[in-house]
């Protein structure tokens, strides 16, 4: 056998090991496998490549992807990533570790998760955060399950039409198999309709509702009175939020939410064609023991030193098995570290500035696009932060083609026939002027 860099066994090693085991060949280790289960054919795989060939291969593929300046959001935002983050998250001790089952040699992981939980709590205003979820949409689906679990006999969850379509989609999938009824709260002027919410509550059976902080039109929603309307009926409220925007916007806790969920991607995580990202999930103290996923807590070791451990594990599937409220096990720990390092670097001032830059530049583009005469305003006066929709007066496909030919990605078509644009701090005024010129 020719040497392969990931297999350290020499033929002498293999012989010595087989001798210790008391078998003649590697095949003998599979003597218990029925002959008709053994695969005897050639594997239909490419010839093994050298490392340089792998590099060349992927560079070849990469060259086939057009490089576009992103003026789109819709749930994935092209914010700036400080150089420190990949440098830290690539450290072997973080990236090649697993779930901190042996806390005495995992204090690095456990501490950053504790910091992450602390940061998610201060951003959302909630009492308790878990150690992460897969992504925003699955976090929202888990909040649906959590609301139904606490409501006991009720089985309906209300979901605002103004939430991103991929979030509503994943909620619908989870609901279907769990037998949960989903009712959509209509939009009115681009925002969750409070009247519609109240009407649905009046229909009964409502365990809770999921509404957005910033919605799929980019509008900052006014959620005044919604938590009260739900709580009077003993139903809960989940707010789906953009954690970057929460640096300036009213927090889920201030709106009276019981649960806050969302995607941590806007906190400096690269777009990476959709993942890995990180879902976050936080709740009030009252619901702490229903919160799915892992949670890190502080304690002391035998010498009285501050130490961190996985805690409240009685909720988890390895103890409750078929009674588990969630099946999440591996989550997105390294991406939680990514977010933690990002928020550490940015601090309160940096986060404010990111939001100011997004606000100013997106409003600049908004004004310029309207001046072209090729769009109409849709929700005039509704406050937005970095993303907005317009009604196109030209064919959308043509518009998108023109943009991509010129090196831009934007003008995403919404389900209502509008087009959306998003501007982050990474896009300069020159970029914006050029995009407008192309249009």
């Amino acid at each position: 056998m020719a040497g392969f860099q990931y297999f350290p066994q020499t033929s002498d090693d293999i012989r010595a090991m087989l001798d210790r085991i008391g078998v003649n060949s590697l095949d003998d280790l599979y003597a218990d496998v029925p002959a008709d289960c053994l695969y005897k054919g050639e594997y239909d795989l490419p010839d093994a490549m050298t490392e340089q060939q792998v590099r060349d291969f992927f560079e070849g593929l990469a060259a086939k992807n057009p490089k576009l300046k992103v003026f789109a959001g819709a749930g994935a935002y092209d914010h700036y990533t400080p150089a420190v983050i990949p440098y830290i998250t690539q450290r072997s001790e973080f990236i090649t570790a697993y779930t901190p089952y042996q806390c005495e040699i995992s204090q690095g992981t456990l501490r950053y998760i504790f910091e992450y939980q602390s940061m998610i709590c201060t951003m959302t205003g909630m009492d308790v955060s878990n150690a992460s979820m897969y992504d925003g949409p699955t976090a929202a689906a888990e909040s649906m399950r959590m609301m139904v679990a606490q409501a006991k006999k009720r089985n309906t969850v209300l979901v605002s039409n103004t939430i991103l379509p991929q979030v509503r989609g994943v909620i619908a999938t989870y609901a279907k198999y769990a037998g949960i009824t989903i009712k959509e709260i209509k939009a009115e002027n681009g925002q969750t309709s409070k009247a519609a919410l109240e009407a649905l509550i009046a229909e009964g059976d409502v365990a809770g509702a999921i509404v957005p902080s910033i919605n799929r039109f980019g509008i900052i929603e006014n959620l005044e009175g919604m938590a009260d309307a739900l709580h009077v009926d003993k139903a809960l409220m989940t707010i789906y939020c953009d954690p970057s925007a929460l640096a300036v916007l009213k927090t889920p806790a201030e709106w009276g939410a019981d649960i806050a969920v969302g995607d941590g991607q806007p906190l400096g995580i690269p777009l990476c064609y959709g993942g890995p990202y990180v879902g976050f999930m936080a709740c009030t103290k009252e619901h702490m023991r229903k919160l799915p996923g892992r949670i890190v807590g502080e304690t002391r070791d035998k010498e009285g030193r501050r130490a961190f451990v996985l805690t409240l594990q009685a909720r988890e599937q390895h103890i409750r098995r078929e009674k588990a409220t969630s099946n999440i096990c591996s989550n997105e720990s390294l991406m939680a570290l990514w977010v933690t390092v990002y928020l550490s670097l940015m601090g309160p001032e940096g986060m404010k500035q990111v939001n100011d830059l997004c606000y100013q530049r997106s409003h600049y583009l908004y004004k310029k696009l309207l001046e072209t005469g090729k769009f109409e305003a849709v929700f005039t006066g509704a406050p937005f932060l970095k993303e907005f929709v317009l009604k196109p007066l030209v064919p959308v496909a043509k518009l998108q083609k023109k943009l991509s030919d010129a090196g831009f990605f934007g003008a995403l078509e919404t389900e209502d026939g509008y087009v959306s644009f998003c501007v982050t701090e990474k896009r300069s005024y020159e970029d914006i002027d050029e995009l407008v010129k192309v249009i």
């Binding site: 289960c37 042996q102 993942g275």
Partner: protein, 469 residues
Amino acid sequence: MKYYDKLIFELSKKGRVGYSLPAACTKCKGTDSIPANLLRSKAAELPEVSEMDVVRHYTNLSQMNFGVDTGFYPLGSCTMKYNPKINEEIAAMPAFAGLHPLQKDLKGVDAVYEGMDKALAAITGMKHFTFKPCAGAHGELTGLMIIREYHMSRGDYKRTRIIVPDSAHGTNPASAAVCGLDVVVVKSNANGLVDVEDLKPLLDDTIAGIMMTNPNTLGLFEKDIREIASLVHAAGGLLYYDGANMNPLIGTVRPGDMGFDVMHLNLHKSFSTPHGGGGPGSGPVGVCEKLVPFLGVNVSGFNGNFGVILRAYAYILMLGRENVKMCGKLATLGANYIKESLKDCYKLPIESVCKHEFVFDGLINDGACEGKEGAATLDVAKRLLDYGYHAPTIYFPLLFHQAIMIEPTETESKETLDGFIEVMRKIAAEAAQDPDILHGAPHNTPISRPDETTAARNPILKIQDECVC
């Protein structure tokens, strides 16, 4: 490893910054012009630190961590194999990392998904895969949804029960519950395999299928799998393969050939992508031909964990047709080698050739004597930390009270395994001599055993909770 006591918040000093951003336009309106009733009343309590503060802090934290790159990590059922560095380079390429998930006409991206689909199909004998699931348990859930879709598409609505062996990973019954299925447990026989006689009476027209792990969590190959497949199929059910234990079969046995209809793979186990301290993973789900129409089940926001998929693809290309055949065999060789070298010190409940992992049921001589408690599995695990090893998986599977589950993987050399064997023997000798040496372990780690009871009784879950004394 060195104890370091800071949290990033404790390094904060007002006015320090760790970022570099363009100046905001001073003449233009900013977020202050958003109506006040939509703004938060006070700023988030984030740390204010310099760039180097951040780098030093997290470097110090990392030095309290143990990873595969630090040393041997025989954590059973987790397949802690070496994570090749070329994979990281590929995943970080800006031409991939900078792509928006809704971008279209990306021929380079399409080629990655197509190449992975084809390669995984070749390795597993499945027809096609979906890459949307973000982890193994997420894959299980997705696979079960596909099973339910299949039955519902045939108008067969009463199949709402799923059979799960008592040796299964804890996520199996949990995933079934989340998918709205009722779990029926099938017992293991004295050989640690699914008891076919116990299975037969369970198979009626309410059974959606069975979830199997093969080799199972004892590391034993379920040799009756073809009979089980025939029985389940004859009863109208489907077979789900839990791919957490796929590693020993890579290059030798394909789940599709055993009769499985649906399966997931953990790219962070069998396909060498880093575990990341508990994710990001990726749990692609493969199906046989008749289930391909149901692969579209929508379980995550965009296109799955593309960055992880890229890494796994790089690994498969390095492995290639030539090396794939040795992958599972070498993993199996290592596990049997350790088992045979230690079974005179640790209880081996089932004498048999294992696959990639095996389970001991505690020490043969735990040192218990009058007035002194013997050393338990937990104590053995903690003592291993003193000697510079990660501990095996402990107290799982639940079939044995003192379970120690060891999985070495194919990327560990004979010398590494010999070193581990020597230490495990030494620990057994220590236990026989004075179990208190083990009870007090670990002694050489950044912290000693923490008080987990207080952590659960009086939860401090964020920095702000610390002050509420």
